[in-house]
């Protein structure tokens, strides 16, 4: 609606004021008029005008003075100076003092119409941007991390302290514990909140793609590189880059990343020019990076660079007191999103949720609540809605160990994993947590064909 953007027309000549106001009103705008600079400033104190058309020559306070006074009370107002005589000096002065535009009357109706529409379009975008930023900032604020667990409270206190520093942060924790949520809370509570927060999932891409994703590439640097592309580090300039699953990056990228962390500069793939960035790095992993360092799978120098501030997020089973709080929160949020009239969760159902081990942590809890809400026909989630969870738990917990030697157990485990990985030795070795060479030794020792 245009009417939300009030416009002020300022001119000592009533005819000019009223005719211009009438023309703008036909376009749907709310328009006020002022016959002097003083009156205009008084009106601007009471109303947040989006645009003020101000005549340059007025007795008493002239157009430039009026503009400056309006800007003192309404810094965001766009001022359009109107004059009957175009001189370069006055135009330059008007623009220097902060006029958005300078028009010579009479001007073509189309010119004014396009000018107003362009300014208001920009204001609308700016206003939407402010609203979105506020929404994002609220969404990821510390107070929206739900907990009454003392360890989580300590973590939240720490994140508040470090929010406005540039130090690198390493967040460790099992999948689904909320590592990205904590990273966003750090970003949106600090000085960089109005700058980008850029996420990169390091495990999702191959080494070449990840390198290009992080650092960008120059035209023709590889097949398919049709033009220059900025990497995530450049896109995050001034803000924060969140490197998720950092434990999965290749040795080459570990070296490249180390250089960026040390020097805050890098080359795009295929590029000869250094790119300098100011980016805060927050990395996350569900691996034990110290152990990865010990096994020489992760560079120790990179580990120490990343691990300036370490945050270890507890698994959900280590903060069971939060399960009822989180469950109630998810019921309210998801029921509202799905348009289901579900008021809460019964005490018996909560007992099931508290007892469950939650290998997928908070994310799994959210998914389980969503499934229950979708399938439930009651206005309160009860134990029947989570009965399947007990079955899943017992299936996961019960392991009928065959009565065989440890070596035989190992042999059967290797065969089972190889079958699951369709004979892919590399993947099977990764799944078993051993090197490929170790797996080959075992295949030979147990005479397993592959």
């Amino acid at each position: 609606m245009k009417k939300v953007w009030p416009i002020l027309v300022v001119d000592d000549e009533e005819v000019m004021c009223e005719s211009m106001a009438a023309w703008l009103r036909e376009d749907g705008y709310r328009v006020d008029t002022a016959s002097s600079g003083q009156k205009a400033v008084e009106l601007a104190k009471a109303t947040d005008y989006a645009i003020c058309f101000v005549d340059l020559k007025m007795p008493g306070m002239d157009g430039i003075e009026t503009m400056m006074e309006i800007h003192r009370v309404r810094a965001e107002a766009s001022i359009i100076i109107i004059t009957a005589y175009a001189t370069v000096d006055t135009a330059i002065q008007a623009m220097k003092e902060g006029a958005q535009e300078y028009i010579v009357k009479p001007c073509h109706p189309q010119e004014i119409s396009m000018l107003v529409s362009r300014i208001l379009k920009l204001k609308k975008l700016q206003s939407e941007n402010v609203i979105l930023r506020k929404k994002i900032s609220r969404k990821y604020h510390h107070r929206d991390i739900i907990t009454k667990n003392p360890r989580m409270d300590e973590i939240l206190a720490l994140t508040k302290e470090i929010a406005s520093h540039r130090s690198t942060v390493l967040i460790c924790g099992e999948s689904g514990t909320g590592k990205e949520l904590v990273a966003r809370a750090i970003h949106y509570s600090g000085d960089r909140a109005d700058k980008p927060f850029v996420t990169v999932s390091c495990a999702a891409l191959t080494e070449t793609l990840l390198e290009s994703e992080l650092f960008g590439h120059e035209k023709g640097s590889f097949t398919g590189a049709a033009g220059q592309s900025k990497g995530k580090f450049e896109l995050a300039d001034g803000g924060t880059i969140f490197l998720d699953e950092i434990g999965d990056i290749s040795p080459k990228l570990q070296a490249d990343l180390l250089r960026v962390l040390q020097e805050r500069r890098f080359y795009r793939v295929g590029g000869a020019e250094e790119v300098v960035v100011d980016v805060r790095v927050i990395a996350a992993t569900n691996k034990n990076l110290a152990e990865e360092v010990a096994h020489e799978r992760f560079r120790d120098d990179l580990y120490y660079r990343l691990n300036v501030i370490e945050i270890r997020l507890p698994a959900l089973r280590e903060r069971r007191e939060d399960i009822p709080l989180l469950a109630e929160h998810f019921v309210e949020k998801i029921a509202s999103e799905l348009g289901k009239d579900i008021s809460g969760i019964s005490a018996d159902a909560l007992k099931i949720l508290i007892a469950y081990d939650w290998p997928g942590n908070v994310r799994e809890l959210e998914n389980v609540i969503e499934r229950a809400i979708v399938t439930s026909h009651h206005d309160m989630l009860d134990e029947d809605d989570f009965a399947w969870l007990n079955q899943r738990a017992s299936a996961e917990q019960t392991w009928n160990v065959p009565d065989v030697s440890l070596n035989e157990l190992e042999r059967r485990a290797i065969i089972a994993i190889l079958e699951r990985k369709k004979g892919n030795v590399k993947e099977a070795a990764a799944s078993l947590g051993i090197d490929r060479s170790t797996l080959y030794d075992k295949l030979k020792r147990y005479e397993i064909a592959h």
Binding site: K2, E13, V15, M16, E18, S19, M20, A22, W23, R25, E26, D27, G28, F53, I82, K105, P106, C107, H108, P109, Q110, I112, S113
Partner: protein
């Protein structure tokens, strides 16, 4: 019932007044009455620009409004302008009683082209509907085909249709119906 009065400001061909009568009868429920021509108001002419100040013409039309006027539409052959803008096809009081339409820039001759009566009729009808629409509280419409869309040059007048879009039409009908019971 109150009437829609059509007031020629200066000489206006009878043919144009007939087009306006027909248009008004088609779109608005109140009777249309033609008034005696008034001269172009003295002091409305801006010699420097060779144009007439629309505000002065509006004032003159408003002064002639009869007591039973639902609307008074001034129609003139002179070229209208306001101090800030180079020209106007017409002007109206938003949700008011008075509107003015200038025929000057609706004529092909204004642009150095041969006269075209059919085109002139279309343009006059569109501008009359447009300015009277403003008096019924309608602001510019985003539908470029709607007669209430903003036209800042004659090409845009031509690209509109001689009708209100559904939304604008409904609003006019509601306002007109509300006036229907008003008696003099």
């Amino acid at each position: 019932m109150k009437s829609l009065y059509v007031l020629p400001v200066g000489n206006v061909p009878g043919q144009i007044l007939e087009w306006i009568d027909g248009t008004a009868a088609e779109w608005f429920p109140m009777p249309t009455q033609r008034m005696e021509m008034i001269p172009i108001p003295e002091g409305s002419y801006d010699a420097k620009r060779g144009q007439y100040q629309s505000v002065e013409i509006m004032k003159a039309v408003a002064q002639k409004a009869p007591g039973d006027a639902a609307r008074v539409l001034g129609i003139t052959e002179v070229d209208l302008a306001i101090p800030t803008l180079t020209f106007l096809f017409g002007q109206a009081q938003l949700e008011g009683t008075v509107a003015v339409v200038s025929v000057a820039r609706l004529r092909q001759e204004f642009y150095g082209l041969p006269a075209d009566e059919a085109l002139l009729r279309e343009r006059v009808v569109k501008e009359v509907l447009h300015e009277l629409g403003h008096t019924f509280g309608l602001t510019h419409c985003h539908d470029p085909k709607c007669v209430m869309s903003l036209a800042t040059h004659v090409g845009l007048v031509d690209s509109k249709e001689e009708r209100y879009c559904t939304n604008c039409g409904m609003r006019i009908a509601r306002r007109a119906a509300a006036m229907d019971g008003e008696r003099t």
